[in-house]
Amino acid sequence: MKKEITKIFAPLLVLLIATSFFGAFSASVAGQTAAAQGNVPAPTPATGTTPPLDPSQTAAAQEKAMKIIKDVMSVDLSKYKIELKINSIMDGSPLTDDNRKITNLMYALTPIESKDENNVIEVYFAVEKDVVTNYFITPVTSQVITTTQYANPEEVVKGFLEKYQTYTTIDSGNLIATLDKADLSKNFTTDKENTKLVVSNSLFGTNEQTTLRWTHTVNGADYTALEIGVNAKGAIISVYDTRALYSIGDTSINISKEQAIDVALENLKDYSYDLFDGVVVSDFKVSRDNIVATLLTSPVDYKLRPYWDLRMMLDEVYPGGVQGITAFIWADTGEVISYSNMAFGGDYTDNTNYTDAEATSPNYTLTAVMAAVIVAALAIVTIGLVTKRKHK
């Protein structure tokens, strides 16, 4: 009886001892990276997050967002539990002194009939100056269950524009007109009066997406825009709309592209930048052929104004990894907005003096030690059992 019990318990005992040893060993190794080196500095303690915003402070934005969920996205409300998960206000853009105030909301749409967390669809909203400028859903491959169905992506887009027109009260007749005989599987540009539509098929990461961008175009410059994204399932997953956010100022283009290049090159003579050691870098050489000039618009106090975006590529890489100089010039007055360096962080070519790997993986060391201990434990058990049998 004694021998039988010993036979049963002895291997278990050895295994338990071994297991306990692994536990103690692995715990010490896990902390080894920090503790074994001694004098591990303490990190700066967390300062604590700001208290969550009272939802009542964003009530107006929430009302607009919910209206979109119901009336534009046509979410089948009987299929989802809808919860407000993010509610915040960005008061001024980070690292700028601008006065943008953006309310950010996120609603989680949890399917009532599924408890799988992976089926939750998140809808993000940005509200600026009482206008919903942007909303989108993630995952980007999602398809929300809606109360309306369409035969193909073209119908989806037309249906969206009609509903969205009702919501925004902005006439979308021109936008809808640009979709006549449109094949959204192809990239194309078309226009109708002052409305330009650019359809582009691209990837968000590895996910196919069709983007339709309508812009109000005057004198070759794109002003306010409505942009929507349609995923491979034919679902509208993003909307970006500045038509009610920005007004359009003076659309005169008094400076031609060539004149803008002249202004940029002339002012480049006075442009310089310092290096860390006090050396001033100037006298940049640019070939006129290596200047890319594009007419764009930029908001100034929420009023769009045309400007020339010039990328002047230099004849060589200048100190600081500077390959080119940007110049922004107002297209109505010719006034210079700013210059900046086009520089990249990687200023090193491949190192030909290859050095051998120095590091040995501590994880591999741990694995090797653990394997050795297991083998040793098994050997002890086997030897013990064999010895006992021989003694019999």
Binding site: L13, L16, A35, Q37, F136, A225, F276, S298, N341, A359
Partner: protein, 273 residues
Amino acid sequence: MKKIFIVSMLLISLMALSTTSLVFGNFASASTCAANFLPNYVAPVDTPNEMALSEATADYIVSVLNSKYPIYNPRGSICTDTDFKNYLGYLQAYDNAVVYTKGHRNAETCPYGNKHIGLIMNNGATVWDRQIYPIDSSKNVHTFVWHCETAIMPPGSHYDTDGCYGLPAAFTHNLNIPLWGSTGTQVYLGWTNNVPPYPYPEQRGGSPQYEWTINPSYNYAQVAAFYYYYMGQNYQNSAALISMATAIYGTSFQNTYLANWLDVYGNMYLTLP
């Protein structure tokens, strides 16, 4: 009989000891620590303006991360290769690690034909991918490496006799981490060579310096800042990128130059822990 009793007691004691860690272990709330690295290896590559922007951006990112987690914030002379590796190691004492680093890269091709990327530290020394891999683990749940070519990782095993190659694999300790994936517990952001298409004087690639302006209102420092603002608001990674793109560029992420230049490995739908 006495022996049986002793053995039984020993077994019971061992079992009790084994379960102690399960009972008293802090499994309810995972601990997280963050690190912001700014090696400031400036000579000869950073202008004073770039350095000032780098400090300001680091301050902002630290403020966002430090509101949630304890943080290591090594900059300048205390961000040598040894420091960098030590701090990466210190983070492994926590359940989750969050890392941001901004600076320059080094590159070399090993005898096995694979390209290794390393990060240049304040003392000019390089911390290579193969050196980072053994220090890091799956605990690195959110990593953004704003150095050149840090998202370049050709398909393959990402491990040869020399060690790990490719920083996404090295930082996440996941040799098969997918590009723009939708599963897993880790996300890694870095830069490829797919730079905006201009006639550069030399074939160069990688991360933009912060001082490069995108339009009259914003530069690349604000790309980093907006991204971290949204991540700080508990946005999913992809949502933070989309929101940053519309706020700065006025269009969707995939319509900006960032698409295919700023790449995401791992689960793009993760939030900060």
